[in-house]
């Protein structure tokens, strides 16, 4: 069997034609330690004889605009309108995941940053191959041929590109030069999103919309405290209820499979389970807060950044200032609840899943079903929001277990309550920070210590099966995976815990950042902007405090410490100018400012707030971003708007609390999201830049909470150091 051809077929690459294989890892040649066979592409550009251009991609669309962004890069070099290119999900075939490339993942605002050159180069190669083939067939000089909007143009003649794909296939991939930026038709210009129409017509297919013959819905009753186990259970009549197909225990609870969601939900309520509770059930939020505080006092932790002798410089400073900040656990609350559909046959397992990590889902399925990697196919659907939640794969694990236990084709759906209470939460944190200022109001030393649970122990356990080479015996893979918590809990630093603090962007004689690992046992995960969501609040609130201690304007104080960081200074100046920093405000209203670097981009935000009878109203947010070269300015703008709302929701309302280990929030009434009448007007300014493209999905989130807290200090004199922000 030609597995490559089989794979292309399985992915729906039908119709043949010119197919260019791309490795989006940036590695377009075989790896040095491998051989030619090891070149494993993870995306395909196909031009069919029928003149269809299709791009198959493993990066998933979760709202961040990847689909449009990627198509724009290809469109530019093919000199063809982006809407003429069909972007499809490539899914994963485990055969084609090379473990040395790591996990196939969409996260870290990386897609466009990594692919900018790779995609353009491949499209340019396709263009040149088509031109060369056309020149040979027409017997004219290649220099006379132009490619435009799916056609080869020779004088007055327009010939469909598809006509030349057969001939182009036999050519080797040429060295090409990329279009010069002067000639760009699409990059750097706004356009209508390619996924826009299907999403407003209700035809877009999310994971939860998957339909298959004989498909049933599964729901799971899980232990209300994470990590608990079934001691005993009884269907208690649930198996007699109409519509119910099966009730089975799985590792994490009891699953009901039924004809519809509603039948499954009704049956689930009848089932009774007695649980063996984990240690987490001994803890409530108040205990965790006290534990973190005690650890901050007793532990010195591990050093993440150490420049000079910060303690000594602070001791010797003319003025010292210290503060403690506290942040809660947070849920992702994607609008589409977690779900996963599995069809398991004797020799083949197919999975339809909205996930950011299709290859990890494949590895999990391999482990559960006992099938080999080549017998597993993962179809990635559209994601109704990701925000990092879909980097975890609990849904895939449970769904394959249910399919295996029942023999039925099932779609596992989380209720909103399940989704809220069985998340991988943004870690809660306790941060102590102190600094010294000299007589001129300049920072001499900076010292920050965070106490919070790491994320890597949880992520590693899930990722390991996909990252570790396939030739390792299964038992060893699981063994290594289970070592993760120990390795990342006790031996190594998790960068996610101190990111945003270690890239300390302000001038200081010395700086030290330390981390103390403290894990109460509630699982943690990657939440839009990850550690930056914690550390930007700490650093940017504290900069504001220092400015006031030094008697300086908060903007000027920052600029005074940014001699070594011109791009951050530039976004601050820009936001101050267009947001009219320092302009006279109505009584009760005030401005706040903050800036932060993350995921390759610099973002500054200016917030205008008023307080009416203790009620916080955010009126206007001005954003300036330098994300390097821009591909689609309107998508950047949309991501800034969305990031601000996401960050404001957390700053004003976001809080997951525990009572006896149980997450207390269940739905949107007690985990409220910002609504339209609470949404401020948002203005976005993109700085033009020739630097490499930075991320845009996450960088708008970190600065908003401190900008708001700083504005509230200006409005009320209250320095709020705990999130969510509550005036007293």
């Amino acid at each position: 069997m030609n597995s490559r051809r089989e794979f292309l077929k399985a992915m729906g690459l039908v119709g043949g034609g010119l197919i260019l294989e791309l490795s989006l890892s940036g590695c377009t040649t075989p790896l040095p330690h491998g051989n030619a066979r090891d070149f494993e592409p993870d995306a395909w550009l196909q031009i069919t004889p029928q003149n269809d251009i299709r791009f198959y991609l493993n990066s998933v669309e979760m709202g961040q605009g990847t689909m449009t962004g990627m198509a724009t890069l290809i469109a530019e070099e093919l000199n063809t309108e982006p809407y003429m290119i069909e972007v499809k999900s490539a899914g994963v075939h485990a055969d084609y995941v090379n473990p040395f490339y790591g996990v196939q993942v969409t996260g870290g605002s990386t897609s466009t940053r990594i692919y900018y050159d790779v995609l353009r180069r491949s499209a340019a190669q396709a263009r040149e191959m088509l031109r060369a083939a056309a020149a040979a067939e027409l017997g004219v000089d290649v220099a006379l041929l132009e490619v435009r909007d799916k056609h080869i143009i020779y004088r007055d003649t327009r010939l469909p590109m598809g006509r030349f794909v057969q001939a182009a296939q036999s050519l080797s991939r040429p060295e090409v030069s990329l279009k010069s930026e002067r000639d760009f038709r699409f990059i750097g210009r706004p356009s209508v999103r390619l996924d826009g129409a299907m999403k407003v017509r209700g035809t877009a297919q999310y994971g939860i919309d998957v339909q298959l013959p004989d498909l049933f819905t599964a729901l799971v009753k899980r232990c209300p405290v994470q990590g608990g186990h079934i001691e005993s259970w009884s269907p208690n009549g649930a198996d007699e209820l109409p519509g119910v197909k099966a009730i089975v225990p799985i590792a994490n609870g009891v699953a009901v499979v039924a004809e519809t969601y509603w039948h499954a939900q009704r049956a689930l309520q009848a089932i009774t389970v007695s649980w063996a509770m984990p240690a987490l059930s001994q803890r409530s939020s108040e205990d965790i807060r006290r534990e973190f505080e005690a650890l901050a006092a007793s532990e010195s932790g591990r050093s993440a950044l150490s420049v000079g002798d910060a303690r000594a410089d602070i001791r010797a400073a003319a003025l010292q200032h210290a503060a403690t900040y506290r942040l809660p656990y947070l849920a992702h609350a994607t609008m589409e609840p977690m779900n996963c559909t599995v069809r398991l046959r004797d020799d083949h397992c197919e999975i339809w899943v909205p996930t950011q990590v299709p290859s990890v889902c494949a590895a999990i399925a391999e482990e559960v079903t006992g099938l080999r990697r080549h017998q597993i196919t993962v179809h990635t659907t559209l994601l109704g929001g990701g925000f990092g939640r879909r980097l975890s794969v609990d849904y895939a694990l449970e769904a394959t277990q249910i399919a295996k236990a029942t023999g039925l084709t099932i779609k596992l759906v989380f209720s909103r309550e399940d989704d809220m209470q069985h998340d991988y939460y943004r870690p809660a944190a306790h941060a102590e920070i102190k600094a010294g200022l000299d007589e001129q109001g300049r920072i001499t030393g900076w010292h920050q210590k965070n106490v919070n649970p790491n994320i890597l122990p949880y992520a590693f356990q899930e990722f390991a099966t996909a990252v570790l080479p396939a030739w390792l015996p299964d038992g060893l893979v699981r063994g290594l995976a289970n070592l993760g918590p120990w390795v990342y809990g006790t031996l190594l630093m998790d960068p996610a815990s101190t990111e945003g603090a270690v890239e300390f962007g302000y001038d200081s004689v010395s700086a030290e950042v330390r981390h103390v690992q403290a894990d109460p046992g509630l699982r943690t995960g990657y939440w839009r902007s990850v550690g930056h969501s914690i550390n930007a609040f700490v650093v940017e609130s504290f900069m504001d405090e220092l400015a006031h201690r030094a008697g300086r304007d908060p903007l000027q104080f920052r600029l005074q410490h940014l001699a070594g960081n011109p791009r951050l200074a530039a976004v601050l100046r820009q936001v101050a100018e267009v947001g009219r920093w320092g302009a006279p405000m109505e009584p009760g209203s005030a401005q706040g400012i903050a800036a932060h670097y993350s995921f390759g981009s610099y973002v500054a935000q200016l917030v205008e707030v008023s307080v009416v009878e203790g009620d916080i109203r955010v009126h206007r947010v001005t954003v300036a971003i330098d994300c390097g070269k821009t591909i689609n300015p309107d998508i950047i703008k949309a991501q800034m708007e969305g990031g601000v709302i996401f960050g404001l929701t957390a700053a004003l309302r976001g809080e997951i609390t525990l009572q006896d280990g149980r997450v207390q929030q269940t739905n949107f009434h007690d985990y409220p999201l910002l609504r339209i009448h609470e949404a401020p007007a948002i203005t976005v300014h993109i700085l033009s830049s020739a630097e490499a493209p930075g991320g845009v999905g996450e960088p708008a989130v970190p600065p908003i909470a401190p900008a708001l807290a700083n504005a509230l200090f200006a409005a009320t004199g209250q320095r709020l150091r705990d999130l969510p922000l509550r005036l007293s």
């Binding site: 706004p190 035809t203 519809t260 609008m335 109704g384 949309a638 709302i645 300014h685 993109i686």
Partner: protein
């Protein structure tokens, strides 16, 4: 006894329990998946459909209450062509993940049917029940105003995409 009602201008007869919420009859029985499940408790608006032209939450509407009534879902909103709101949504690049947007559009279309030129406050009031985790609120507001203007002027001309005039640089 089957429940008979009008769905997107066609008569439908369904043999389901009266307590089954309309949402699951649409999604799991009729396989009409444009109406979304977000919370199941009337809190998010993802499941918004029209009953007799009025916006309701399908997740908290039992099938027994649709007997003999006229239901419209996103699939039936515009008839053969896009509704002017869908058009405006596309031009304003409103959708990010897009999951909430069928519900947003159903809520907005019920609003415009009653109030052809809503103010910002009218929009806030009518749309406050529809959550968007991706934070597309300012574009939703702009797209509703735009569609309202279109419906009023009825010039038959498609306006330029909004970003051609609206993009700051």
């Amino acid at each position: 006894m089957p429940i008979t009602f009008m769905l997107n201008d066609r008569s439908i007869s369904l043999d389901v329990e009266g307590e089954m919420p309309l949402l699951w009859a649409l999604r799991d029985v009729l396989k009409l998946t444009g109406t979304k499940f977000g919370c199941g408790a009337g809190l998010c608006g993802a499941c918004t459909v029209h009953r007799e032209g009025e916006a309701i939450r399908a997740c908290t509407t039992p099938m027994s209450s649709v007997q003999g009534r006229r239901i419209t879902t996103i699939e039936g909103l515009g008839g053969q062509a896009d509704h002017p709101l869908q058009d405006a949504w596309i031009r304003h690049n409103v959708a990010q993940c897009g999951y909430c947007q069928p519900g947003q559009i159903m809520a907005a279309s019920a609003l415009l049917a009653q109030n052809p030129s809503p103010t910002d406050e009218d929009i806030d009031r009518a749309m406050a029940g529809n959550l968007c985790r991706c934070g597309t609120y300012s574009r939703i507001r702009a797209a509703i105003h735009d569609a309202a203007g279109q419906l009023q002027s009825d010039s038959g001309q498609t306006p330029a995409p909004y970003y051609q005039s609206n993009l700051e640089s």
